[in-house]
């Protein structure tokens, strides 16, 4: 009979090693998660404070702190990957090599144990990975967004206050700036006709840089509606894109002509991607 010629494989030490390794792996990942959560929880209010107190329009201090935190999370992920390679994958390969063929009955219990071990470790790793990603998102959203609308309205107010307070550098006559300019612009003196050069304030220049972001903020609900639609409702995308560009053009009307060409490009790219 077939089974008489097969010695049953017996290796309780291996089963113990499997159990012990799994426990160590779970403990290890648990410690990394605890450290990461501790860091993330303490960092969130700090990120918010740093963002709010920073006068830099580009909020670089907050950006650098965020990158540092994400760098540490990635270090932990890297550490887990290395440990997985060295202690789980290598262990399983080495152990399987010592077992009788999987096609025989002899080592069945051990193959099953290794399989269960691999699955348990893999599932635990995915849980770890999800937790990391969750905290990465929390950190990225911690500071919220700049109130671009308020910044814009302030610049509009400042402009209304200064627009008629300029004098021609040639004849001293009063020059009223016809509209809000965002770059250096030639302005004509109505009295002596001399071309003066108007240099906008730093704040006005920033309005141009932040215009699209403000337009996106104003139409975020439309983009969200498209992203939430199942299946994807392309009409919603077109509505969002048109609305976003309309808002953008309201903020910087001089760029409307160029923006239209860009709008066409984005629309075409989106449609092409949908057809793929």
């Amino acid at each position: 009979m077939f089974s008489l010629f097969q010695k049953k494989y017996n290796n309780p030490a291996l089963l113990e090693k499997i159990r012990e390794t799994q426990e160590r792996w779970f403990t290890f990942l648990g410690k990394l998660e605890a450290r990461m959560e501790e860091m993330s929880t303490a960092a969130i209010p700090e990120l918010r404070d740093l963002f709010n107190q920073d006068n830099d329009p580009y909020k670089r201090a907050h950006g650098h702190m965020l990158q540092g935190l994400l760098g540490q999370i990635n270090q932990m992920r890297h550490k887990a990957n290395e440990a997985r390679e060295e202690n789980i994958f290598c262990f399983v390969s080495a152990a399987e090599a010592t077992l009788p063929a999987i096609t025989s009955n002899a080592g069945q219990e051990y193959h099953n144990a290794l399989y269960a071990f691999r699955m348990a470790c893999s599932d635990r790793y995915h849980l770890f990975d999800e937790k990391l990603n969750h905290h990465i998102t929390l950190l990225q959203k911690a500071a919220g967004e700049q109130d671009l609308e308020a910044i814009y309205r302030e610049e509009l107010t400042i402009f209304e206050n200064i627009r008629d307070k300029f004098s021609c550098k040639q004849c001293g006559g009063n020059i009223t700036i016809p509209q809000m300019f965002f770059i250096a612009t030639y302005v004509n003196c109505p009295f002596c006709k001399t071309q003066n050069t108007f240099m906008p304030s730093t704040g006005a220049q920033l309005v141009l840089h932040q215009a699209r972001s403000l337009a996106e903020q104003r139409t975020a609900h439309l983009l969200h509606a498209y992203e939430e639609s199942v299946p994807k409702n392309e009409t919603l995308y077109k509505q969002y894109l048109r609305a976003m560009f309309d808002e953008w053009n309201k903020i910087v009307p001089d760029m409307a002509g160029e923006n239209e060409k860009f709008y066409q490009r984005l629309l075409n790219d989106h449609l092409i991607n949908k057809l793929k």
């Binding site: 830099d56 201090a61 702190m65 001399t194 003066n196 906008p200 304030s201 730093t202 006005a204």
Partner: protein, 82 residues
């Protein structure tokens, strides 16, 4: 979590925050400047540049302010060529 570990995390965070808040950013700080008006007169004859004579050359002595062909831009147009 132990006191020791907590201290480790908080020390790290404090150092990170300090570094982020105080380090020099590439390109420097954004200096807030007010709007202002300037003028460039002809360096040869001192005349001002009048709109109807264009931006690129002096109407009076021919001095070339800019040796380029202006195209239709945002506010500057082809008509602004002298």
């Amino acid at each position: 979590m132990s006191q020791e570990e907590n201290k480790r995390t908080l020390t790290y965070l404090e150092r990170l925050k300090q570094k982020a808040a105080t380090q020099e950013n590439y390109g420097g700080e954004v200096v807030k400047e007010d709007a202002k008006m300037k003028v460039r007169d002809c360096p040869e004859c001192g005349a001002g540049r009048a709109y109807q004579h264009g931006l690129t050359a002096c109407a009076y002595c021919g001095f070339v302010f800019m040796d380029v062909k202006l195209t239709d831009g945002v506010h500057i147009k082809k008509e602004n060529n002298s």
